[in-house]
Symmetry: C5
């Protein structure tokens, strides 16, 4: 039986299933030395997993030599911002995937090299903790598969973790969208500032597009694995990868769904804005009529005709004021009833 080593556990420990090695800006951790890794690679029944966080170019070149990585793949790692893809070279495969947990524009790119008995993952992060959580993957691996060691299963667990992060992202987006939809119809009044809604809808559309661009091509990656294009991913992982593929289809459906929903919300909002214009114009017309009506009465009694009996009345002035108040009241009630005010 093979002996594997778990990342995060001391390399020397015998009960460990996989062995990990991580570079970090704070310096490498949980690593003995390069010789030991070399030993482990050559040792037949051992799967080695090396995880490099924010590696320098020097460190990348050490990995390149150690595992004989293809220069085109390494170029992609250096350039970053690649399309999700799977490339199969004679001695190893190269995979680019994105972890996306919060539904915002930022995603964490993870490069996964895998040979028959080793996996190398490279990722960068700017925040405090990486979104690509190797501890969680180790736990999930142990939970799902137990102590057998198998590169295919490890790849599956990594992909499953990635796809799980997408469900979390979809949930975040769904929540944001539903908040926007509520906001569109809630408390619509001419005083409301519509710009933040428009801006958040535009931003959500942008985020969804970025997400889609990263998530949808992953289908082809998993499909290639299912078709057996990577020889060391055996048939025993088939059912599991099928499950991942299924989840990716669902993610794709959800993203398309959200895109259409946000499009509908944009339409609805535009109609709301048009409608508000009508509301404002009705108010303007109503108040204009009320003010102009009273002004007309004042104008009439400001005329200089010799014979204007009302002007001689003792309470003529108050009558005129009363007429204005009455007109205002009547028009106000009338417009209120017609919902123009």
């Amino acid at each position: 039986m093979r002996t594997c080593r778990v990342p995060g556990a001391p390399v020397g420990q015998t009960d460990a299933v996989l062995s990990a090695y991580s570079f970090d800006t704070t310096g490498p951790s949980e690593v003995r030395d390069h010789d030991e890794i070399s030993d482990l690679i050559d040792k037949p029944g051992t799967v080695v997993w090396v995880d490099a966080v924010n590696p320098s170019h020097d460190e990348l070149h050490k990995l390149e030599e150690e595992f004989d990585l293809h220069p085109l793949a390494l170029e992609d790692v250096k350039n970053r911002d690649q399309r999700p893809k799977l490339e199969v070279y004679p001695s190893h495969s190269f995979m680019v995937v994105y972890v996306h947990r919060d539904g915002k524009g930022q995603m964490e790119e993870v490069f996964v090299f895998s040979g028959p008995e080793w996996i190398v993952t490279v990722h960068h992060h700017e925040g405090k903790t990486p979104h690509f959580d190797i501890g969680e993957i180790r736990q999930r691996y142990t939970r799902t598969i137990g102590l057998t060691c198998n590169v295919g299963f490890l790849l599956y667990v990594i992909l499953d973790e990635v796809v799980d992060s997408y469900f979390s992202a979809v949930d975040h987006i769904e929540e944001k969208l539903s908040r926007i939809e509520d906001h569109i119809f809630d408390d619509v009044n001419p005083e409301r500032d519509e710009r933040p809604i428009q801006q958040s809808m535009l931003r959500l559309r942008r985020d969804l597009l970025a997400f889609r661009r990263r998530a949808v091509p992953l289908r082809d990656v998993v499909l290639s694995l299912l078709r057996g294009e990577v020889p060391w991913v055996g048939d025993e992982t088939r059912v599991y990868l099928q499950d991942v593929f299924d989840h990716l289809l669902r993610i794709g459906d959800e993203i398309d769904n959200q895109r259409e929903l946000i499009g509908n919300a944009v339409d609805a909002h535009l109609a709301i804005v048009s409608n508000q214009m009508n509301e404002i114009m009705k108010k303007m017309t109503s108040w204009g009529a009320i003010l102009l009506g009273s002004t007309l009465i004042a104008g009439i009694y400001g005329m200089n005709f010799d014979e204007m009996p009302e002007l001689r009345y003792k309470f003529g002035y108050y009558g005129a004021l009363g007429a204005m108040a009455l007109l205002t009241g009547i028009l106000y009630v009338m417009f209120k009833r017609k919902r123009w005010l």
Copy 2:
């Protein structure tokens, strides 16, 4: 000849065709005990149908043991909210379908496990009665096929019941849409509140999208059955499944149709709102002209020129008032004719 047992009928009765077993929040009903089910499973010529409503995790695990269900499938049952799909494991198949009867957002997820001589259905419901109506299915089964017992036929009847619920949902949606369309053009006036229309159109679009997401992937499920991917669904059900497939195509057509119709209605409504703005503005302009015209006459006779002969006329004042009334009348008729008022 096989002996089958009908769900809802006492297990011991000989004239019964299928045997059912149901968990419920109110406790299991129509069930003897687990031993009896085990016996029935092992008994060669018997088809057992176990229907579990709102089962607890414990009850699910009992089913898992009894029927040797695949852990990935059971995980899906626990997580719920799956994509409609068919998964074929060596000893049984796993199907996810949705019952949708009322055209609103809510749907009832039904998980269907089927082996060569048994079917297990699991569903949850919150309302008083489940949308997945096993009594109706039993009746339909007896009506269509008579007393022969066959897992494939039972699967067909379940799918047919599901697709029938979609026709009911489509009818509901069609009715709602046609009410909205009528409402858009009926009694259009500036007093009308447009917001409820917009909101109901947005909601209908959302419901249609949700429906589509659940109904359209079912085509692939039925297609897989037609292609014979599940060995215990034989050729004798082919014509029947073809009929279900045909109905699903029609449902898909109808949904796409409704989507386009609702999109057209949204366009038409936006145009109506724009048009209303024109109507309001015409009214505003008309009343503004009428009021300002009279105000101008009042202003003219409010001027303080020494020589203004009209001011000396005995009926000058009444003449001015008459002029105002006349102007108002003329403008009113004029605008009315041009349909500005």
Copy 3:
């Protein structure tokens, strides 16, 4: 050589090519009795065509027994409103097509059963005469093919008649659309009521969608016939069916075309409505400026300053009125020139 009998011609006549039998709400016509039909079916060299208009369920069941029709197909006939399709059962085929002549929403559903030596057509109609015109089909059959008798040719003639009705429908729609387009740009003025245009555009879109749903799936039906899925439709009808297929492609093109044109018209109309708003606002601004300008002059000479020389002028009042008229004239010409009025 075979002896065939024409529908509408006395069954006994030897120069007749096909024999027809028709149920109607006004009672059956041109029919001897069921025995005779039974005889004709069994007679080897004879093609029987039975056409049933508005049959009752009883009459359908008689046909079912006589021709051994499949119960699923008969269910579709009873439910009506099916998708255009072709279903091939071992002893006969079942086809659903729609006749559509006037471009409005209503279509006439025709069910066509065909065996090796017989055809049964079932259709319902509410108007005075059915759109599915069996007299026309008989004439066309005789004209095209002469006196040979062949189920395949008869099917072709029926399909050709159906597709011909689509060309008539397309013409109606095209005419309606072109009338709408003219109406959009003709005599645009703020007085025009835009609502009927919007409503007719929405209705036309709905009609087009309904038409498309009925006409486009017919392609697959004809394709299946071309592929030889119905054994008694031989190679000699191939060129003719290809012609029908070609016409269906053209119909599909035309419908898509009309859909895009009506979409463009909707866009153009929305722009026209927006534009009209600008026209109304320009008018409003112009008249507002003219009235307010004169009001201002009146206001100025209504001021109560002790020293206002103009007030003392003999023709001051007329001067002021003249100034108002002049201002009105100047502004009027100015706005007219700028096309604001």
Copy 4:
């Protein structure tokens, strides 16, 4: 070696490569008699090209007999307005293509029959000269291929001439579109009449759609020729037909491009119209404020208070006028600066 005869050259001349025959409304030209054509058809090494312009039904029937044309094809020629297509009958092929030179809605339909050693083209035109220019085709044929005679090459030259006419049409459309785009942004002012722009955009969209409907299906025609479906179009024309196919792809790209560009222009124009409304409203507000401000000053000094010191000032009146002028000036400059005027 074969002897061919050129259309337009006397039939008897030996240096002529192809022989042509043309019907016209002005009577047939460049033709000896039908017997001669019959002779030429039967003569083995000769390719005959007969071009019929605006033929009567009688003349069509003569051609039908002479060349044994299929009745379905001839029906299409009589009905006209066919879809571009290629139909292959046992003894000859039938092709429908459209010549389109000026980017407007009108196109010239050309029917091309071709047998192993003859080509018959039929076209109709209403203008002075036909768009399908047989002189140009003859020249092009001689220029490209020299004196060998070959039906396939002649078909290629006809198709090349047709596709060349499309490039001319695309150029016309591109020019029109670019003029519209310039017009949209050029000299935008509230005085401009937007309706002609909208109408020309709608017309351009309609023309593009009509063009697309005629040009895009031609791809399938050329593809069928490339696949060798017409036996007398040999491999030696393959490279040439590939070139035509390539040009058709480019035409298709261009049309799709233009469609999207015109769609964008429609969007931009709608935004311009909305924007103009804002401009008009700003102007209206500005002038309203200026006029109402002065009116208010006039109103104030029109009040009848006993104690209004300004009224007693000698230059009070001029002061008030000055205040109005000053207010007008200030507001004018202010609005001008804010670009409201």
Copy 5:
């Protein structure tokens, strides 16, 4: 081992890898004479690369003779503005690609002929330096592959340089788009001129379409190379061409992405413009109410009633002015609070 010659290096130098020859408007450079090229072509182990910048028709014909280029291909070179494509003739292949570096409409068309041991590139440029940078390609070739000489590798380097230019173009477009998006929401006020934004969005859409038309068909070209349609592009370049293909997929994704983003921005801008109209109308209403309110007060005290006690008050006039100021103040604060001002 082969001896190759680098463009830009003297032809006679032994350490040079490839040999180049360039025409220019300033005359040919880095060229000995035609005889030498002829010699090099015939010399078995040598790859010759001839680069012709802005060649005259005469110079093109010399190349045609020298390398036996196909006349159809040469016609394309003369006509220019071709679709990106790959054509394979028996003795050589012909490729059309576009270099696009700055994201604006202008692109540089490059024609690439390649035989088993030679490459001829033809391009035209109007600016000072060509976008197709042969120096950069030479460097890249040497850097990637070293001194071996191979037509396939050279083709790969040319394609890689082309695709690299696309990344630069995408960056430019992305930057422009993000500037537009910022501009849409930044400092939105009724004073802003919206037309430049609309115009730049329309222009960006046009540029994107033009870019897409040039970049996307390149996929098929690379795919053809990958499928081995050009015999002298061997398997050793497969991984490299796969990399180019991958980059093209990413470019295609980016372009589609940008198109959708710009579409969203157009939507958002339209909503902003609609919203601004509301803002303007609120301002207009507010100021109208303030001015009309004060005018009404002035009108009231301009009435000529005999009994108007306020008119007799000593400070009545100031009271009226105060009332106007108070009303103005109250309305101002009220509208300010409601954000109408």
